[in-house]
């Protein structure tokens, strides 16, 4: 029984790593630019598909990950510049616009890659399983994902808290007008942060596509779970996204294991508790 429990803990943590990749971009984009971008799920899916095709064509998983991320950086930039920019701070408009965009991307992706579940091919080094202390056997890739997630989280955290750019972003999340008043090129900052967020979403797609597979509808499923992470962790908080991802990832894994038919219901729990006790999330800023 306990080995299963431990296995689920690892499952949950690997899912948390993936969720963090998607949620961190969303939450920082909102915190800094006050933009709600519901197309992040579609970015994940499209990035995954592009990475898949690249990996299959070149035989390199790394290229796939990189390519998937870069493709979304380009798409994200175009979307920001030609669509989202016109919505100002109107969140309703942003939600509808980006949902519409997600529909377009999803439908086009369906046409190009079809409706079957596709799996991103893994390099031989990451295939198969490895043995953990205690005799547990676990898929190598998912373990690597946890490591990857930790590395990315660590790098982002360093970037956010230890670099001058990170300090500017943090200041911007707290008070945008003040940052603009200091003469820093706010527009360029936004473009860079948005590009990073897009890159993370795109690579998440490739990485996720290697074990969750890619299929029509996946863009909404990942988005909703990422939203729960952001709600629980608080909009605009990177640390909150980390904690939220872990909470949600573990709940999801245990939920699927213990109550498979009600696993979605398990997600409802923490949100309801939060709403009752602290409507602003664990570490959130004013919406």
């Amino acid at each position: 029984m306990t080995t299963s429990a431990i296995l689920q803990a690892i499952n949950g943590t690997s899912l948390a790593a993936l969720l963090f990749l998607v949620a961190s971009g969303f939450t920082v984009t909102f915190g800094l630019m006050r933009v709600v971008n519901m197309a992040y799920g579609a970015y994940y899916l499209l990035g995954g598909y592009v990475g898949l095709s690249l990996a299959e064509a070149t035989g390199s998983f790394a290229l796939g990950v990189l390519g998937g991320g870069l493709a979304i950086v380009v798409l994200g930039y175009l979307v920001d510049r030609f669509l989202i920019r016109y919505t100002g701070e109107n969140h309703l408009a942003q939600v509808l616009l980006t949902v519409g965009l997600a529909f377009v991307i999803g439908d086009v992706a369906l046409k190009i890659w079809g409706g079957d579940s596709l799996k991103v091919p893994l390099p031989p080094a990451l295939r198969g399983a490895m043995e953990l202390p205690g005799g547990l056997v676990y898929p190598t890739f998912r373990f690597a994902l946890i490591v990857f997630g930790l590395v990315v989280a660590g790098l982002l955290w360093l970037l956010y808290t230890r670099t001058p750019i990170g300090a500017v972003v943090r200041a911007g999340v707290d008070d945008r007008e003040q940052v603009a008043a200091t003469g820093i090129d706010v527009d360029r900052l936004f473009v860079m942060v948005s590009a990073l967020a897009s890159f993370l979403a795109g690579t998440a797609g490739v990485v996720g596509g290697a074990f969750l597979t890619l299929y029509p509808g996946a863009e909404w499923e990942i988005l909703v779970v990422a939203l729960v992470v952001v709600i629980v962790g608080g909009l605009g908080s990177l640390g909150g996204a980390m904690i939220g991802a872990l909470v949600v990832g573990l709940l999801d894994a245990y939920g699927r294991w213990l109550l498979p038919e009600f696993s979605y219901f398990v997600l409802f729990g923490p949100m309801a508790v939060l709403l009752l006790l602290r409507p602003r999330g664990i570490a959130g800023r004013e919406a």
Binding site: V36, L92, L96, L97, L101, V104, E261, F262, F268
Partner: protein, 311 residues
Amino acid sequence: MTPARLAVAVALVAAAVALPHVAGPFWMGLVTQMIVFGLLALSVDLLLGHAGLFSVCHGSFFAVAAYTTAILQVRYGVPTALAAPAGLVAGTLLGLVFGLAVRTRGVYFILITIAFGYVVWGVAHRWSSFTGGDNGVTNVPFPAVGSWRVESHVEYYYLALAAAALLALGYRVLVRSPFGLALRGIKGSESRMRTLGYDSNRHLYAAFVLSAVLASMAGVLYVYYNRFVNPVAASFPVSVEAALMAIVGGTGTIAGPFIGSAIILGLRNWVSSFFELYAAVMGLVFIVAVLWVPEGLVGLALRLSGRTARG
């Protein structure tokens, strides 16, 4: 009501009543759908256009009501007289629970309703032993109360039309009441309303539950028309589209959500007949609507004729 508006209303009513006699079953079915989804859009607009809250989970109440009624009728042989109200009650109960969301505002509220909506979809999708999973619940009979029973789609069309008319009338009374005005006040300035003595959270909660009731009624009407329900009814696209219908038609009005419903459903029907990527087209409609027609068609028409949109 001005003479011009009255004339338009009469013409519309006449057209609606005459429809089954001049058009085939396809059109009648389409208009029935427009009515049902128009009601759903209306329920979303009670919150959006009057209270200023953008809820994207109304498909949940719609679906829960539909599923409850369907399962009771099909699996347990419960008659309409009990199954229909039960559906309504079920959707309302869910509304009472999801109403927790009004403890938040703005973006948080939107995100939470999205997540709530997904929970219901997920349960409908995964709890296949009870909900039938992706296959849903089929073979829902036409409604029958006592000796009266609906025998055809034409009869159901008139039933839906009458129900919608009654609900729209009730909605009109609601939005013109002190409660309705209070909602619009909260939408305008919650801080001001609180200092005037209004407990805004309570008002918003009440509005949320009322909108869930309306969405549930739409769900019951839907399941008897469609004769079947599956998880798609609770899906995010349905909830989002309901909001879009209200926006395209004109928020804060009564006709707006129905007009929006007619446009969206009509457009989808037309486009899907010749273009495979019609979901992409609907996505483009979202984008266009947001960027170029934010006040909706009713708002646009009123603005062009020199008046403001007053519900």
